[in-house]
Amino acid sequence: MSLAGETSRYMVAFAKHDLSFLLMLICGWVILGIVGLVRPHRMGWIARILFPVGALIALGIAVLGAIALLSGHAPQIFLLPLGLPNLPFHARLDTLSGFFLLLLGMAGAGISTFAAGYFRSGEGTAPGLLCLQYHVFLASMALVILADDAYFFMVAWETMALSSYFLVTAQHRIPEIRRAGFLYLLMAHIGALCILLCFGVLQGGRWLFTFDAMRGASLTSFWASAAFLLALIGFGAKAGLVPLHVWLPEAHPAAPSPVSALMSGLMLKTAVYGMLRITFDLLHIRYWWWGVLVLGVGLFSALFGAIFAAVQTDMKRLLAYSSIENIGLIFTGIGLAILFEACHLPLFAALALAAALIHSLNHSLFKSLLFLATGSVLHATNQRSLGKLGGLIRRMPWVAALALIGTLAIAGLPPLNGFVSEWLLLQSFLFTPQIPHAFLNMLIPLGAAVLALTAALAAYVMVKFYGVIFLGQHREPSLVHAHDADWLERIGLAWLALGCVAIGVLPQLALRAAGAVTETLLGQAVNLTSPFWLIAPITSRQASYSGLILLAGIIGVVGITFVGVRILAHGRMRRTVPWDCGYPWQTSRMQDTAEGFGQPIRHIFDPFFDMERELPFPTDVAPHYRIHIEDRMWKTLYLPIARGVQRLADWIGLLQGGRLSTYLLYSFLTLIVLLGFVL
């Protein structure tokens, strides 16, 4: 007891200077990057020293974030000696930023450790420069979370976009990668423009750009809705909500794997953070139709992402579409929270918001884990196409085992963390009958059905992902030479896998963290009084879940079965070649392929896809079956916009006739017209 008292007093004393420590650590990241530039080609020094130190800093940030989250202090404010005269940078640390810093630090530590083993010198950006871009990217994400005025926020946001752009185009000699980078930068700028406009609306005519001033501004319902919609578009473009998701499946595969992990695991969460900050903190009012809109967009994104992930043949593209699905789930939770809050049901709002927050945390862990695992596979085999992998569980046992935890978590199986957040989300759907709108409370339960479908599809996708890469036989002879990940990579993967298991087994930890956030944002938290091994968000009579008991049950059943089989069947076991179905000339190419596995989904959800199929002739000696699947959004939304812009540009281009006298005439007429106004 006295020890606990001592610790808590220590924590309180420490928490007072939390924010300045945090800013120092963030500075440390930037310094690491600059140090990396001194000897930009010394791979050993950069990889073995700088990246692990960066991981330690990330760990420190996670600890400080957790302290800020759980110490229950009032928000801390810090004025940075940076920025423009009369427009200094404000930083603020409250529970919401604490939660996202915890997420950033936890996943960042694992990714940085992995990156220490991953980056090799080769073509493209020099390692030292990569180290700078990588750490500036991390630091700018932390600053986005800490920023307390629109100016600082936008500076950090744009730094984040630019540094990640350079990281995406690390292999800039490949034209497709440059193209993907450009698309990403374009969407990032459209998003940033919307966010800028959103802040312009939020200041409410007082021209004060600190978040404190925005909290005090009273907007009319029209302007509040305008600010909300701009934020939804701006942050939606960054998060990858459909239909603003097009950059995501291009940019994630183009980037090196640790960068994909950072982008998918962490950067998308800064968009979630921004959305929560503006919706629940800066805006003083929320309308129910906002919630319905976000809910609809989120559910559609989730379903869309899951369906497209099922038909991908590139392992990183598959994970990118799965990110769209998960972001969709997170926004579904946010939408429900807005809806409940607007209908004055704060407890249910807290439940939905907690589900969204925990899913953000979970996604940052398991998606990073899987992206890093694909990185190891890529390094070992030089293959990204699922059609050329297979049987790697025997060559890469470590990666295979750790990736299995990630796939089970993302598929939403208990006792891992993915199940916890999806369960909470489904729980919050169960309370929609309490909404006092006649049609809504009938329609929204349909959303729960969509959610269930998405979860099932996600599991299907993960079976495909894991099965095609790690199980079965080698599809290419060169895979025999595949080697396992090195020890730094293994530590990084194991750290993330540990996080997945910990949250799954002890969900009360995550729920308490999320509860602290909902307490500040909504003034209400779900039931946190249950013992540490059980969660019962509303009451224990209604629904409860215990990861620990489930884990004990699973271990018990598996153990008893194992021992039982050993006792009963011992001595009667023989090893032999598997049955060949009466066809002894099998090759590894006769296994089920990624295309084959996705075929039923492709068939059922045909209207979603824009497919081009090339079928071989029956007489063809070397038949090839080719299928090309594209996003319908390209043809229905983006191409018409691009064509419109082109037409407008052509039209304006008519002004440029090339004749000098015409140009003179323009200025002359302008002069006459302007003088005519004077008259």
């Binding site: 440029q656 090339g658 004749r659 000098l660 006298s661 003179l664 005439l665 002069l671 003088l675």
Partner: protein, 221 residues
């Protein structure tokens, strides 16, 4: 007749001749004739500045009259003559688009300029205030000339004529600009003129002619 009335009447006469010269420039085909007309315009400007300087008793305006004489009556026409001689363009003439139409448009511009000048001349206190409309008209006509011409040299003459109009507007509305500004403008004019002279040679080298319609090929598709 009172001397100030005489001076005012003389100024009006000079202003009218300035306008007349502008119309003459609008209708001339030959480049050489245009340069002569430009020199005449400068001379009229010189005389009017001198008159204003005498009647207002401003020493600065004498300097500015001297500057006009040196630059616009002697230096620039002489340089222009030498330039077209070296370019072999002294016998160039251009086919103008429908001179009567141009004249009619010019007439409309003069009316517009007078309408525009009315509120300004009511505020001005100088003896030359009635000529502001003419000054504006000269600017417009020079601009119109630049629009209707195709040759590089005539464009430059139009540009210089526009500057004449501006200068006249300045003297008639406010007894001239401050000396520093006037010197600055004179210098700009010279530098600009030299740069354009270099451009002439470059253009001729590229297209074998000074016809600006060749430059339409430079447009990016």
């Amino acid at each position: 007749m009172h001397p100030s009335h005489l001076i005012a009447a003389l100024l009006k006469l000079l202003a009218a001749s300035l306008l007349l010269i502008s119309f003459a420039m609008l209708s001339r085909r030959r480049t050489q004739r245009l340069i002569t007309l430009f020199a005449w315009q400068g001379a009229v400007l010189f005389m009017s500045t001198l008159l204003v300087a005498h009647s207002a008793g401003l020493r600065e305006l004498y300097y500015s009259a001297a500057l006009t004489l040196l630059l616009k009556v002697i230096a620039l026409p002489w340089i222009l003559h030498r330039l077209i001689h070296r370019l072999g363009a002294q016998w160039d003439s251009e086919t103008l688009v429908n001179i009567p139409t141009t004249m009619l448009v010019g007439l409309g511009l003069v009316i517009f300029a007078f309408g525009l000048a009315q509120p300004i001349s009511r505020m001005a206190t100088t003896i030359t205030r009635n000529t502001i409309g003419i000054a504006l008209a000269v600017i417009f006509l020079a601009f119109l000339m630049m629009i209707t011409r195709r040759k590089a040299v005539t464009q430059v003459i139009g540009f210089l004529a526009m500057e004449n109009g501006l200068f006249f507007a300045a003297t008639s509305a406010t007894y001239g600009m401050p000396m520093v500004i006037e010197l600055g403008i004179a210098l700009d004019l010279l530098v600009g003129f030299f740069i354009l002279g270099i451009f002439f040679f470059q253009i001729r080298e590229q297209f074998d002619s000074l016809d600006l319609s060749n430059m339409e090929a430079l447009k990016e598709d």
